[in-house]
Amino acid sequence: MFWTRLKRSAPVAVALLLAVPAFAQETPVPGGTAIVVLGSDPEHLNPGISTSYPVGAVGVNVYSGLVRLAADGRPEGDLASGWTVSDDNLTYTFTLRAANFHDGTPVTSADVVYSMLEVEAPNHGRFKTAFDRIASITAPDAGTVVITLKEPYAPLLSLLTAFDAAVLPKHLFEGTDPLTNPANDAPIGSGPFKFGTWVRGERIEVVRNDDYYLEPALLDRVIFRVVPQDVGRSTALEVGEADLLWGFYMPPVDLPRLAADPNLQTWTGITIPALYFMFINTNTPRLDDVRVRQALMYAIDREQIVEQAQGGLGQAGSGPFGAGFAYAYSAATDYRTLYPYDPDKAKALLAEAGVTGLKLRFVYDSARGAFAAAGNIIRDQLRRVGIEVELQPAERAVMVERVYGGDYDITMQSFTSGGDPAIGYHRIYRSAAPGTPFVNASGYSNAQVDEWLEEAGGLADQDARKAYYDRADEVLAHDVPVMVLFDELASEAAAGNLRGMRTLLDQRDGLEYLWFAKP
């Protein structure tokens, strides 16, 4: 009897015994240095004048914004301890915490106003989209900032993070040209890390700011290490020369190998939605016929592209704005039901449009492995419906010139939403002047859709937004000037004993939460 009871309780006892060390291990341990991989040297370290990925990676940990985005996407106070919104949704009043820049100077509302008006509004592409809707930014006193909008704009708070509206030290920037100020290379911010050293081409070191206004960082230092070749980044992780590798820099094909490594941990999921899609040049003869574009939609198997070109790290295209935002997605226009893979239907549509022997030039950035792989798959799939595709890889600078100059037939691109479809996705469909990079390159221009997107962008209520997106979805799903391929699945690989990643929405943000568990 005794032995039976012992045997029965043994598994429970063992489980409890095993659980104890696990609990004990989860208390954050301060100290140590984490090495984070960057794929290229940033041009400078001022996120207020650039939207480049590595600039943001370092900049957002050295500078602060009024708000920051928590893991679930909700804005929470960063430099601002809190804010109130007027009933008409036009006036936002932010209360600032007591905080100092890394050189000891106190941060005041004057710094916030200066940064936004003089630095970010003229120079920062994303902040400018907010600024165009802002009537005024004022500082009634040293601890308060008031932003007044011309009309309600839902994504405003998402555009007030350190990524888009970093608070720069006015006393270092005033009177100088922000583009050439030496503080861009040795930043003085108010963030959780202070700038240490920058050995160009090799590394950027930041050290803990013990004077930080929130909980100081757990690590002593973070070293951003530049590994230019994509295959070398995963290797650096495998041999212990790096501790953290974001999906942005990781070739998707490396993920299974890293996941199988017992010394590493990997993660996939959605952080900030991003869309992979193809612009169709509606100015090319034949491609201006909507039937031909729809034929392309039927002829391309998007599931296969996700599986083979993106290593499964994606969700095949579910509509003009993907599936990342519930209110921008409409079940009625889900591409999986509207345009299932059907080569026969594609051929029928092409015949109806009287198109034979179509040749398309596929332009893409040669540095993106996933694009090259997708290109080969697409060429195969389109050949089956009688369309010849000529792959034209081009280095990025050339690709940008060709695509946004209209010298292409189809092209593959990926855009991040920036946290809200109004920030990053509207530009895909909104009428655009030729020659502007990173906006609508298809030549498609529909004034009604433009209007609906404008409306949707301004509203805060998600149901009201959905009403406009539903209408836009319907038109765009019919016209398909852009072929949405898939929603990107973010990924990350890290040393097995690293903890605290992805505490905030953007993978680059919140490095102050990183710590190393004892092995």
Binding site: R200, G201, T235, V239, E241, E401, R402
Partner: protein, 329 residues
């Protein structure tokens, strides 16, 4: 010993070569400037990130970097600046080109110099071993090695070396020019740098080692059949003495010349190897600058490379004169 009276002639020859080099370098600068300026792709694109930048911002950046002027205007401005020693300002790195080059130069020189020294030494040795007993196992082994070394591209070899020695065996670092986690000082730092240099140097030197081996072997075989060698043997010298003291000196001459010729290729190879290993030298800077259309840096590097290649060829030609008493300038 042999070149006593040749000192003056050599100096004049060197001076003449240097003077002749000036229009050559100028030509290199002009041609490369025009080529790069005409190439599709805008330097501003790589500076503004992945989101449409405000048009006024783009215009201002273009103006700051002088991109709103015509190509001939920019060319004249550039050449005038170079004549004054000002190599311009780097868009992507936000420093003067001169500062940038000087910073990265040392690292590439260390790599290239050690490559040349090691590759020449090993190549000579293998060539000698091959030529001693032509057709032997040693000879066939060295020849096979040379063929492989010549055929294999440096960047692929580099990645293979990383895979074997860094990932599988864990003996050597996978990249960079020093340890990032720990800051060594003194002797430990030198050792650390040395360990980081081994694999890139191996990748870069393989092909050149192969060339030197084959060249030494061929040259030595030819020399070994000369009459003065037979005479030396007849005097009773050992085979080793014949080989190392007499034959090698003559056989080394083509190798010395070839160093200069191959130097340019080593520089080109360093662009690839430095990228594979994340070695922050000039080669990688060249690769990055092409990608970002950072043409002041690119031109600065090309200028430097052409001057260096001319210089190295001049030195090897002078060395030739020192080694071979028959050569008079």
């Amino acid at each position: 010993m042999a070149s006593e009276g040749n000192g003056g002639g050599l100096a004049i020859y060197a001076l003449r070569r240097v003077i002749n080099a000036v229009p050559l370098v100028l030509g290199v600068v002009v041609v490369n400037f025009v080529l790069i300026a005409l190439a599709p792709g805008d330097p501003v694109t790589s500076l503004i990130g992945e989101y449409p930048a405000p048009p006024e911002y783009v215009e201002r950046v273009r103006h700051d970097f002088g991109l709103d002027r015509s190509i001939p205007e920019r060319l004249i401005l550039y050449v005038a600046n170079v004549a004054r020693g000002d190599l311009g300002f780097s868009f992507a790195n936000r420093q003067s080109v001169t500062t940038l080059l000087l910073q990265r130069l040392g690292r590439t020189l260390v790599l290239m110099l050690s490559t040349v020294v090691v590759a020449t030494a090993v190549g000579l040795l293998l060539g000698v071993l091959s030529a001693r007993r032509p057709g032997s196992l040693t000879d066939r082994g060295a020849t096979g090695f040379a063929l492989v070394g010549y055929a294999v591209p440096e960047f692929w070899l580099g990645q293979l070396l990383i895979l074997v020695f860094a990932v599988w065996l864990g003996w050597l670092p996978a990249g960079g020019f020093r340890s990032v986690r720990v800051e060594y000082v003194g002797f430990a730092a030198a050792l650390d740098s040395f360990r980081h240099m081994l694999l890139p140097m191996a990748a870069l030197s393989f092909r050149y080692m192969a060339i030197t081996t084959r060249l030494t072997r061929a040259s030595l075989l030819e020399v070994m059949s000369a009459q003065y060698i037979t005479a030396a043997r007849g005097r009773g010298l050992s085979e080793n003495a014949v080989l190392w003291r007499h034959a090698l000196r003559a056989a080394a001459l083509p190798v010395v010349t070839v160093i200069g010729y191959n130097f340019a290729f080593i520089v080109a190879g360093s662009a690839l190897v430095e990228t594979v290993f994340g070695w922050p030298g000039i080669g990688r800077l060249m690769y990055d600058s092409i990608y970002t259309r950072d043409y002041p840096v690119l031109l600065g590097i090309l200028l430097f490379v052409s001057v260096t290649v001319i210089l190295v060829n001049l030195i090897t030609d002078a060395l030739y004169a020192v080694l071979d008493p028959r050569v008079r300038y």
